[in-house]
């Protein structure tokens, strides 16, 4: 159903193919997830990866940072992490007799917030504010974060002990939520034989400079979404609102996010227009964490999204 729309109109430039290809050599057998992650960054959105420990979440973040030439920092969330540990503190400089601000790890272009749901809600919201505003308010001063600024947060499945599940309003800050899942047999064999990919990721050379990224993002934002396509997005949004399987429907912001993600997906495939294929490809990643099922109350499952897609005719 959600067939990857990799086939492209012949001859279109696809500048991100090297990025995808090199990342695919590090994270084996996860082409689709890599593509979604890159699309998320191109759509200027933040990414949430939910999976068990050891599935390659951190490696993926590392790889992307290196390939895109982004200044990378990692924050390991723990239950005693304080907001200031993220945003930074002012210390007294005895030489100059003044307070000097020591920026925290959030002042980076790509921040990996590892196991975000281990921290207390107060600390979580410090990061989420930074994600939303693109700036940090600490000690009465507002400091702009570097541009571009991405957060890749990882999260353990919420039933694990000692976790604070992100509330729905904060889940909404993430454009996409993806799961990596176990590698298939072939990929796992290659992985085991190579003895881990983290070291290899450290060796990668940047394909682009960080300064190039805004230009790519502009191109993505210019990808054409025609009237019939907007109709389709609207029909999907409407279906989530009417479908009794969900507690509530998708918000207009989710609709905008869906379109932005689909634009990035189409652009990665070398197309200058969005197709229903693109919408369907990104829909699970964009919609599932924003929907709550009526039965059980958890986030929507892939089956729910598939049923949703099947209930909406393409206009």
């Amino acid at each position: 159903m959600l067939k990857d729309a990799f086939s492209a109109i012949a001859g279109s430039p696809r500048p991100f193919d090297p990025v995808l290809e090199q990342a695919g050599r590090i994270i084996l057998g996860k082409d689709r997830e890599i593509r979604l992650a890159v699309a998320c960054l191109l759509a200027n959105g933040h990414l949430l990866i939910e999976d068990l420990p050891g599935m390659g979440k951190t490696t993926l973040a590392h790889t992307l940072a290196r390939l895109l030439g982004l200044h990378f920092s990692r924050i390991q969330f723990t239950s005693d992490l304080l907001p200031a540990d993220i945003t930074g503190v002012s210390i007294f400089d005895r030489d100059k007799s003044e307070f000097r601000f020591l920026p925290g790890p959030v002042f980076a272009q790509l921040v990996l917030a590892d196991e975000i749901n281990r921290a207390t809600p107060k600390t979580q919201s410090a990061l989420l504010e930074a994600m939303e505003e693109g700036q940090v308010s600490a000690e009465g001063q507002t400091r702009a974060l570097p541009r571009p600024f991405f957060v890749i947060a990882t999260q353990n499945p919420s039933h694990q002990i000692g976790t604070f599940a992100l509330p729905e309003s904060q889940l909404d800050r993430f454009l996409m939520r993806i799961e990596l899942g176990y590698p298939d047999r072939v990929a796992e064999k290659a992985l085991l034989a190579a003895g881990g990919q983290r070291a290899q990721a450290e060796q990668l050379a940047a394909v682009f400079a960080a300064a190039d990224l805004p230009a790519w993002q502009e191109q993505v934002a210019a990808v054409h979404a025609a009237g019939p396509l907007i109709d389709y997005v609207q029909a999907l949004l409407d279906a989530t609102r009417r479908n009794p399987a969900f507690q509530h429907g998708l918000s207009p912001r989710a609709g905008l996010g869906l379109l932005a993600a689909a634009r990035a997906w189409a652009w990665l495939a070398g197309r200058d227009m969005v197709l229903p294929d693109d919408i369907q490809a990104v829909l699970p990643a964009v919609a599932a964490h924003r929907l709550r099922t009526t039965q059980g109350g958890g986030p929507a499952l892939p089956e729910d999204i598939a049923a949703l897609v099947r209930s909406v005719a393409i206009p």
Binding site: M1, L2, K3, A5, S7, I9, H224, A226, P228, L229, A239, R242, N243, P244, A245, D272, M273, V274, L275, P276, D277, I279, Q280, A307, L308, V309, R310, S311, V312, A313, I314
Partner: protein
């Protein structure tokens, strides 16, 4: 989108089916035995409980045992598995049982079909307005269920019901046209099962003590009458049923066999009226005394009773005329007069002796004596004491409490003992005038028996002994004649003004329904068609008119839909053309399937079509989803190539 029949039924569709089964079976509770309703209700409740708690449905063997038990119960109850009542009972049980095997969509369709079928069976029992409304609502519910079954979970109850209501509204004009123009057939369209007409109430052709009192406790309508002029006073409204001449000591019966035609002298001018008879399964038409004009298939049978050739087994409308003052058989056959003097030997000696003592007085004096006797201290009641072998003696000299049949029977016995030919006449007396639609409504509770004596020079003369016991029975009606507490039907007993007004309205509405809707027979259809400029319409011209009307309606709806349809994008139209070609090549396609995925699937399933289709897809996405200004020619060419 087509979903395979054996696809699993989605959970939220199931309550719709419960509702369908319940709505289509519920009115049968009124007619079928209690155990059957309980069984069906229990099965439904069980199915609902299983659904609510997400339990497994019962396996095959419990169901087989249940079917066997239910069939056995029906066999014991009705002594058959066929026929109207047993057949309906089977259907009800099957619908309820099918709810216990709701696994796939096919099962759901079976429930819907059974519910539709069950719906038709309600017309066996009732064709009244409430029934029609209930069935109409159930049809909408069943349609909504079908909409829901095909629409999937995104189809909320409101959407499904709105769709169904719109579909129903669109079907309404077709229903009216078919109703008005489909050739009418007198009688039912198909043979009804033999027991279809069982259980009709009405006068019987015998009379024994208590038989009319039992009937009078029923508030059902026997017939409705509409006079052409003003209605005559109610004490003159004697509606004649069977004439009972033979008495065996307990029971009065008519004489069988042929007799000469009446000689009727009409004194007052005839009054014309239309009578709508409810089915009573007897041949008499309960015409007003004395009938002067009759329909074609109706004759007087020699006792002034209008009899039709066939029993009145469904509601029937007749046009009649009556003269209220008449002389009837002034020269009666002596053999008949002898018959009307016969008394069972050795019975009722006291009464016979009393009347024998009157013989010397004049005939008028004898009548006066008998009526004076009744006027003395007799009580008119629906609950008379039981009588033994010499019932007339017991009644006249001991109990002195009785209903009209007691008075009529005692009077006739006295007259015969006094040597005056006399007989009992059964029928109805009076009726209630409904000012809203000018109809006189005659109920079973107006059932009555009176006497007729033959006097030389005057012929058969009506004498109503009840009138001397309880004059208000004749002048005002049975409810005034009986004290409160007698077992009269509520519809007759409750006489507060607002209740009466409400009842008049309801009955007038029902009458209009009976006359205009249910009474739409071949004759009425002919009249209507003649008014529409189609005189002497045969089935051929009817078929043409029907086809024409339906065609015009369909064209109108189509035009409306076309005007209101959003304008189709030409690129989309071409795309649909390509998809139709795909369907011709045996490739199925779902409306949610996006173009690139479809092309890729085609590449795997039908590689020989893939290249041409890929060209169509490329041109289509450029035309429909690309920047405006792309020309359609590429797409048109690609589609044309693909079609080749």
């Amino acid at each position: 989108m087509s979903t395979p029949a054996n696809a699993a039924l989605d959970r939220l569709a199931t309550p719709w089916l419960f509702a369908c089964a319940l709505a289509s079976a519920l009115p049968h509770v009124l007619h079928q035995p209690v155990w059957l309703s309980l069984l069906a209700g229990t099965l439904l409740g069980w199915a609902f409980w299983l659904w609510q708690h997400d339990r497994r449905l019962p396996g095959r063997w419990p169901l087989v045992i249940l079917v066997g038990a239910a069939c056995a119960g029906i066999l014991i109850e009705y002594r058959s598995l066929f026929g109207r009542d047993a057949g309906v009972a089977m259907l009800v049980v099957f619908v309820a049982m099918k709810l216990l095997e709701l696994r796939s969509r096919r099962d759901a369709m079976v429930v819907v079909t059974l519910a539709c079928f069950l719906l038709l069976t309600h017309f066996f029992h009732s064709q009244s307005i409430p029934t029609a409304l209930w069935l109409l609502a159930t049809v909408v519910l069943i349609t909504a269920t079908l909409v829901r079954l095909h629409g999937g979970p995104a189809c909320t109850p409101r959407i499904a019901l709105r769709h169904a209501a719109v579909l129903g509204a669109q079907a309404l004009p077709f229903m009216l046209v078919l109703y008005l123009l489909f050739p009418r057939i007198s009688g039912p369209l198909w043979g009804l099962p033999a027991d279809a007409h069982s259980g009709k109430t009405g006068l019987s052709d015998t009379m024994s003590p208590g038989s009319i009192a039992r009937l009078a406790q029923n508030g059902d309508i026997a017939f409705r009458v509409r006079f052409d002029g003003p209605a005559p006073p109610r004490q003159k409204l004697y509606w004649r049923g069977p004439v009972l001449e033979h008495f065996d000591g307990t029971t009065w019966r008519p004489f069988e066999g042929r007799r000469p035609a009446e000689t009727l002298e009409i004194i007052s001018p005839p009054i014309r009226y239309q009578s709508t008879l409810e089915a009573h399964d007897q041949r008499w038409l309960l015409a007003l005394d004395a009938p002067t004009a009759l329909p074609d298939d109706v004759r007087l049978n020699g006792t002034l009773t209008a009899s039709s050739r066939k029993p009145v087994s469904e509601r029937r409308r007749v046009s009649l005329a009556a003269s209220l003052d008449y002389r009837f058989n002034r020269d009666e056959d002596p053999a008949i007069l002898r018959r009307n003097l016969a008394l069972p030997p050795g019975r009722n000696p006291q009464a016979v002796a009393l009347a024998a003592g009157w013989r010397n007085a004049g005939r008028e004096a004898i009548l006066g004596k008998a009526l004076a006797l009744f006027a003395s201290d007799f009580t008119y009641t629906l609950q008379p004491p039981l009588l033994g072998d010499n019932g007339i003696d017991q009644f006249l000299f001991q109990t002195r409490r009785g209903f009209c049949e007691h008075f009529a029977a005692a009077f006739v016995v006295l007259m015969r003992a006094a040597d005056i030919p006399a007989r009992v006449v059964g029928g109805y007396q009076g009726g209630e005038f409904n000012p809203l639609d000018d109809h006189v409504v005659v109920r079973q509770s107006d059932a009555h028996a009176w006497a007729e004596v033959w006097l030389p020079g005057r012929g058969w003369v009506r004498v109503d002994p009840t009138a001397s016991v309880s004059p208000s029975r004749i002048e005002a009606g049975i409810a005034d004649a009986l004290p409160f507490g007698e077992p009269l039907p509520g519809v007759v007993q409750w006489r507060a003004d607002w209740i009466r007004t409400l009842r008049f309205r309801w009955e007038a509405l029902n009458n209009a329904w009976n006359q205009q809707v249910l009474g739409y027979d071949p004759e009425r259809q002919r009249q209507l068609l003649a008014r529409l400029g189609l005189p002497d319409a045969d089935w051929r011209s009817l078929a043409i008119a029907l086809g024409l009307a339906c065609g015009i309606l369909a064209a109108g709806l189509l035009a409306w839909a076309t005007i209101h349809r959003p304008r189709c994008d030409p690129a989309l139209a071409l795309w649909h053309k390509a998809l139709r070609q795909l369907a011709r090549s045996q490739v199925d396609y779902a409306p949610w399937e996006p173009p690139l995925a479809l092309a890729e699937r085609l590449g795997q399933q039908r590689p020989e079509l893939a290249d041409a289709f890929q060209a169509v897809v490329n041109a289509y996405i450029a035309a429909r989803y690309g920047k405006p200004g792309s020309n359609l020619e590429t797409l048109r060419d690609a589609v044309a190539r693909f079609q080749r």
